[in-house]
């Protein structure tokens, strides 16, 4: 018969010990299987309005990982990718970063948006995980002196400068209006562009922002039109760039648009059609003209279809990380970071080396133009009319 005291003295302790044992076995600790796998994280927008461009980047990473695994992985260990979706929202980015760290990733390719990379890098630096961004261009990403933060793309102070110089020196624009989407990326880029043209003696005739969810731009278009610009600049992403161009042309704003890497995506052409013709965009070198990129393009096409603008950057960032994991003395944070700082890597875009801040060495941005529905590198004899 089970009396109350018997229960308290025998059954309860057994049950609680059993429960505690189960907890300890079930949570934490390492599985024997984990030692045979290396986890790397990929962080970016995989849902939401920028899902396509984020997925393009992630598929580039997947291709790199698949190639390494076919060659036997790293020291016989398989590489597994864990994706973290930040939906291009800075608040999600920190949560994603912490989640990836908890899942014990050795390094992370990401994030995509500067507004996400900056807060996420605080987490990664704090928890000592290497982070390589394929696309975040705001200067602050690498300016804070974190040893483990890198990027394989350019910086907005270069991007804005190249655009500004081009606008004044090549296009001889004198009345320039500037618009941005109030995000870290868009506003940062617009500010860099503004600084450059001001340093070359031209004051912008308009400078303002629109919120990220806005789809009706006629109010700012009116204000810009009233200033009679011969060029206007938009710091933002293609999902707003499309309707912006459509509405501008409908309102009679005929001046050419200039923008940055956020607008280089096929979706812009789908959305704006002929209204996008003659728009100037800054971006990295054309992969189609880099011999080493041709193999990448062919392999990507076979597996995932047409590559997006950032697929190759995802691929390169992943390869830098995987090379570091394979060849550095250990997978500890300091060794990985020092290895990446101290070596040159062969990548699809050519040789990559990093400076003390984590930026790639060498110049990067060139001008592109939309011609006949395609993005082509701008040549001296091409004009927008």
């Amino acid at each position: 018969m089970i009396t109350r005291s018997l229960f308290l003295r025998m059954v309860l302790p057994v049950v609680s010990l059993f429960g505690a044992a189960t907890l300890m076995v079930g949570c934490g600790g390492s599985n024997a299987k984990d030692d045979e796998v290396i986890y790397i994280g990929v962080a970016g927008p995989f849902t939401g309005p920028q899902a396509k461009i984020g997925t393009d980047m992630a598929q580039g990473v997947d291709l790199a990982v698949a190639e390494w695994n076919e060659r036997g992985g790293i020291s016989g260990k398989k590489i597994v990718v864990i994706r973290g979706d930040d939906e291009a929202q800075p608040k999600q980015a920190t949560a994603v970063a912490q989640d990836l760290v908890a899942k014990k990733v050795v390094g992370v390719v990401g994030h995509f948006n500067s507004g996400c990379s900056i807060p996420a890098s605080e987490v990664f630096n704090d928890k000592k995980v290497v982070m390589i961004s394929p696309a975040s261009t705001n200067p602050r990403v690498t300016d804070r002196g974190y040893n483990g933060v890198f990027r394989v793309c350019g910086r907005d102070d270069q991007q804005g400068t190249v655009a500004g110089k081009f606008a004044i020196e090549q296009l001889k624009a004198s009345r320039i209006a500037i618009l941005h989407d109030k995000t870290t990326y868009g506003e940062g880029l617009a500010n860099e562009f503004k600084k450059t043209i001001e340093s070359l003696g031209v004051e912008p005739v308009y400078f303002g922002g629109v919120s990220k969810e806005e789809l009706d731009f006629r109010a700012v278009i009116s204000a810009i039109k009233a200033q009679n610009p011969d060029l206007w600049y938009f710091g933002g992403i293609y999902d707003q760039g499309g309707p912006l161009l459509n509405q501008a042309r409908q309102s009679g704003l005929t001046a050419p648009l200039m923008s940055g890497d956020g607008l280089i995506d096929k979706e812009l052409i789908k959305s704006a059609g002929k209204n996008a013709e003659g728009s100037y965009l800054t971006f990295g070198p054309d992969p189609a003209r880099v011999p080493t990129a041709k193999t990448f393009i062919a392999k990507y096409r076979a597996k995932h279809g047409e590559p997006g603008a950032y697929s190759i950057y995802g691929y390169d960032a992943a390869n830098v990380l995987l090379n570091a994991i394979a060849k550095s003395p250990s997978t500890k944070f300091d060794d990985l970071a020092d290895f990446i700082h101290g070596n040159t890597f062969d990548s699809a875009m050519g040789p990559l080396a990093f400076d003390e801040r984590g930026d790639i060495k060498g110049t990067y941005y060139i001008l592109w133009i939309v011609k006949d529905g395609e993005f082509v590198v701008w040549e001296k004899n091409e004009t927008a009319d």
Binding site: A51, F207, G208, E213, D216, A219, P243, G273
Partner: protein, 301 residues
């Protein structure tokens, strides 16, 4: 300088159509239908989809395709509004004041995410061949280019608003709606089928919102699953500004908000656009707490 005026009136017409739905529901049920913005968005998407179907069916005169799109979208949006009411609000009619509000927010979140997953998280392009002929300018006043599309939007919106006004003033069902908004219990006691009147209110308001949705997509060339959130917020503001529960008030409020937004951006820059509508609301409520034309006291929420 005149362009903010013409743009503001166009945008205001669209807000007014949406605001009517908010104001009518508040007038009859005393609740704010937070899911109304999503009904507008659904009308937008169904309109775009219908036009897509028309395109794949082959050559069809643009006018017929547009009329079809409007009717189909208004029908389905009305069905959606009716369903919202039956499922999410009617069971809570005798519960606390807060319950239908929270239910509405839930419906709103559900519909937004449903469309986002079922359709696209990205922008959806309005098929341009159907708005192309209307995009050319009809005339130019000063520096303002007024396009046929803007005239179409204003014209159709005003026609719908006038139609609604006549309906509410001159028909039996309209009279029943006015009675229910005055005193629901008494109206029920005099033999008015209150449940049916409420349903009719939702159906009418949702149809107007759907028309607004298609007009918005035609005008801005794109639609997006969160368009309901943005426009709904501003239209709701317009309804309150004009006097919530008051039909002419909603129309007036819509045009005021539209003009305020365009005017503010024109003179002070795009950064202030989001603030413009709410600043206008605050200023007007300070001097007229019941809204510009409001007789109903806004004490219920």
């Amino acid at each position: 300088m005149l362009e903010p005026l013409t743009n503001g009136i166009t945008r205001g017409a669209i807000y007014a159509l949406i605001a009517l739905g908010y104001t009518m529901v508040y007038g009859i049920l005393g609740m704010i239908n937070f899911a109304h913005g999503e009904v507008y968005m659904i009308g937008m998407f169904i309109g775009i989809l219908t036009l897509g179907v028309c395109t794949s069916l082959g050559a069809m005169p643009i006018g017929i395709a547009l009329v079809l799109a409007f009717f189909v979208a208004m029908f389905f949006a009305a069905a959606q509004g009716y369903t919202n009411e039956r499922i999410a609000y009617r069971p809570l009619r005798h519960a606390s004041r807060l319950a239908p509000l929270i239910s509405a927010v839930g419906v709103s979140i559900f519909l937004q995410n449903f469309v986002m997953n079922a359709q696209s998280k990205d922008i959806v392009n309005f098929p341009r061949q159907y708005s192309a002929p209307l995009v050319s300018p009809a005339f130019v006043i000063g520096d303002a280019r007024v396009t046929w599309l803007q005239l179409f939007i204003i014209g159709l919106s005003v026609a719908l608003m006038v139609g609604l006004y006549l309906f509410v003033q001159r028909t039996r069902l309209g009279k029943a709606m006015r009675a229910c908004s005055q005193d629901q219990t008494m109206a029920g006691l005099t033999g008015i089928p209150v449940d049916r009147v409420v349903s009719a209110t939702f159906v009418i308001g949702s149809s107007l919102a759907a028309a607004a949705g298609i007009l918005f997509a035609m005008y801005n060339t794109v639609g997006k699953f969160d368009a309901g959130y943005v426009a709904g917020l501003r239209a709701f503001t317009a309804a309150v500004l004009g006097g919530i529960g008051n039909i002419p008030g909603a129309v007036l409020g819509g045009f005021i908000i539209g003009l305020t937004e365009d005017g503010t951006v024109y003179f002070w820059g795009g950064d202030w656009k989001d603030i413009a509508a709410f600043a206008a609301l605050m200023i007007i409520l300070i001097f007229r707490p019941r809204g510009l034309l409001g007789e109903r006291v806004a004490e219920k929420v």
